[in-house]
């Protein structure tokens, strides 16, 4: 089976229709669902942006990063650091600053890590993320070049106001929801376009056979670094939205679990096409709540062990639907119309 198929790089018409329906459902949701569920869905959308940013590395370029949450965290922390306790800050400069900062962190870290491959890449990305995690965890304030940076330490920091967008009011839950949805759609459209651009084709070539790419004259280091930086900046966007939505950032945002969850989302949904990452993020969050709310059986606290059920579920998906949930759906949709003529 070709990678184009196994990665569903080309989304069949049936899946495109399904995604369009999903978009309509998301757009309609705040009008039918309660505020509580609307903010839960907004959270899923934020995680979907985060998962898509990782998919650019993991599914497209073949770089499995176990430290991607570092850039998610940098985005959130940038918002908290530039926020004031008494008034809202403007979205229009804080969002670009958060994107630039997370992109810059990714550029510097990427400069060191994209030289490595496979297991080494996994380990060094994790190591860098842990360094950032403990930098924040251990320091309430940090002296940098004579100025004191507020980091909040292990307690984290509150963000009292949502960013001020001027034209629309992000404090309004519905407005925030639609702003997040707009970000999701824009990032998806951008990444899908990138996937089929010359740059995207080079990244796919690196995943399949980096050695050959170099023999053809591609400076693969530069391409991988560019992908790593872009993925970091987009993760920063997700982190920024997360900070704005929850009004709170803590070191866990950069933590190992956050990075690992992102990997699981991408695998769960199906790698290398960005649509799978969205489905994976939604499915992961949904299952997480489902498993956490499982009723106890006698003395056994079933819900408390949600990680166990999640792990089992992902093992089952990998075993029976190696292309993820998106691949499984594609197979079902493909089989239906052809069932008669087989």
């Amino acid at each position: 089976m070709s990678a184009a198929q196994s990665h569903l790089e080309v989304l069949p018409r049936s899946l495109q229709v399904l995604l369009a329906l999903g978009f309509i459902a998301l757009a309609a949701f705040p009008f039918v669902g309660s505020d509580f569920y609307a903010s839960m869905v907004a959270r899923m959308m934020i995680l979907a942006i985060f998962a898509m940013s990782l998919d650019l590395l993991q599914g497209v370029t073949g770089l499995v990063s176990l430290g991607h949450a570092a850039f998610f965290g940098v985005g959130g922390y940038m918002l908290s650091m530039v926020s004031s306790d008494s008034a809202a800050v403007s979205l229009w400069w804080t969002l670009p600053v958060a994107l630039l900062a997370s992109g810059l962190f990714a550029l510097v870290i990427g400069f060191f890590v994209v030289r490595t491959r496979g297991i080494y890449f996994i380990m060094v990305t994790m190591a860098f993320a842990q360094m950032l995690f403990y930098l924040v965890f251990d320091n309430k304030d940090l002296e940098v070049l004579g100025t004191s940076l507020r980091l909040g330490g292990s307690d984290g920091m509150y963000i009292n106001f949502k960013p001020d967008a001027g034209l629309f009011d992000l404090e309004d839950r519905k407005v925030f929801y639609f702003f997040t949805l707009a970000c999701l759609v824009l990032v998806y459209a951008f990444l899908r376009r990138l996937l089929w651009s010359p740059f995207g084709r080079v990244l796919a070539g690196i995943r399949v056979n980096e050695h050959r790419m170099r023999a053809l004259g591609y400076g693969t280091f530069g391409y991988k670094l560019a992908a790593f930086t872009l993925a970091g900046a987009l993760a920063g966007l997700a982190g920024y939205l997360w900070g704005a939505q929850t009004g709170f950032v803590n070191p866990e945002l950069m933590g190992f679990h956050m990075s690992a969850h992102a990997i699981m989302m991408v695998i769960l949904g199906g790698m290398g096409n960005f649509a799978g990452a969205i489905i994976g993020a939604f499915a992961f969050e949904y299952l997480l709540h489902l498993f956490k709310d499982l009723p106890d059986i006698g003395d056994f606290r079933v819900g408390k062990h949600w990680q166990l059920w999640m792990g089992l579920f992902i093992v089952l998906v990998v075993a029976f639907a190696p292309r993820g949930l998106l691949g499984a759906v594609e197979r079902i949709l493909r089989r239906k119309p052809g069932a008669g003529d087989a």
Partner: protein, 250 residues
């Protein structure tokens, strides 16, 4: 006076105590095929890897079109005008034949400002890929997935990808290996045609092909050159006959 496109001087590559390539010098001229032959383990592939930048030489120097490229990365040597094929087929198996060659051609394209356009919409790149596919005789297989075509076709694809990068110097590591008779004949014809515009180094075991194609012949044994010259000179060399005794009929 023929134009020397690649010139290697006193190349040595040591792996620990073993000299896989020892003090090898050779020149590649435009319009000529320089065949490198020798028994398995003679260091032919290592020599190819040294010239292409896949391995850095321990000592010695390499000049490509007058520029020193010793120790440079494979991508820089490729961009300096050297293309190579691999002994073990080294292609993008999951991609179509067309995408393999298009990606190779794209490596030479200049379009930094239009990087969000569809990769397949660049006319110059497409034409370059198309020419390479035609030249390698793969036009009918362009939409097939590279992993599903025959071994011989994969060897042709190797050549097509290399040609799509518009190289001046070609290093071909056993392009005929594992090919059927008719496929091999086609490949020999192709090499005959490519010779006009390129400087070619051909590592090959098929002696019929070597003697049909090569202007220059270098014989390696145990990492060293034991004879070098025109095919006629080498054929008469006593040392070569000794080295090849029982190996292959020269």
């Amino acid at each position: 006076m023929p134009e020397v496109l690649l010139s290697a001087r006193n190349l040595t590559k040591r792996f620990g105590g073993l000299a896989a390539v020892h003090d090898v010098s050779l020149d590649l001229w435009r319009g000529a095929i320089h065949a490198v032959i020798g028994p398995n383990g003679a260091g032919k592939s290592t020599l190819t890897n040294l010239l292409s930048g896949d391995l850095p030489p321990t000592t010695g120097s390499i000049h490509l079109r007058e520029a020193e490229v010793t120790g440079r990365s494979p991508e820089r040597i490729s961009r300096a005008g050297l293309g190579r094929s691999y002994q073990k087929t080294n292609i993008f198996l999951p991609f179509t034949v067309w995408e393999n060659v298009r990606l190779a051609a794209q490596s030479r394209a200049q379009h930094p400002l239009r990087w969000l356009r569809r990769a397949t919409s660049f006319k110059a790149t497409n034409e370059q890929a198309e020419r390479a596919i035609e030249l390698a005789g793969l036009a009918e297989r362009r939409n097939a997935v590279a992993g599903t075509i025959s071994h011989g076709e994969q060897r042709q694809l190797e050549i097509a990808m290399t040609l799509a990068t518009a190289p001046q110097v070609l290093l071909l590591d056993e392009p005929l290996a594992g090919m059927g008779t008719s496929e091999a004949e086609r490949m020999v014809e192709l090499l005959q045609r490519l010779k006009q515009a390129h400087a070619i180094m051909l590592v090959e075991h098929d002696m019929d092909a070597v003697f049909a194609l090569a202007e220059q012949l270098t014989v390696m044994v145990n990492g060293q050159v034991i004879a070098s010259g025109t095919p006629e000179q080498v054929r008469g060399d006593a040392g070569v006959q000794a080295a090849y005794l029982g190996e292959e009929e020269l």
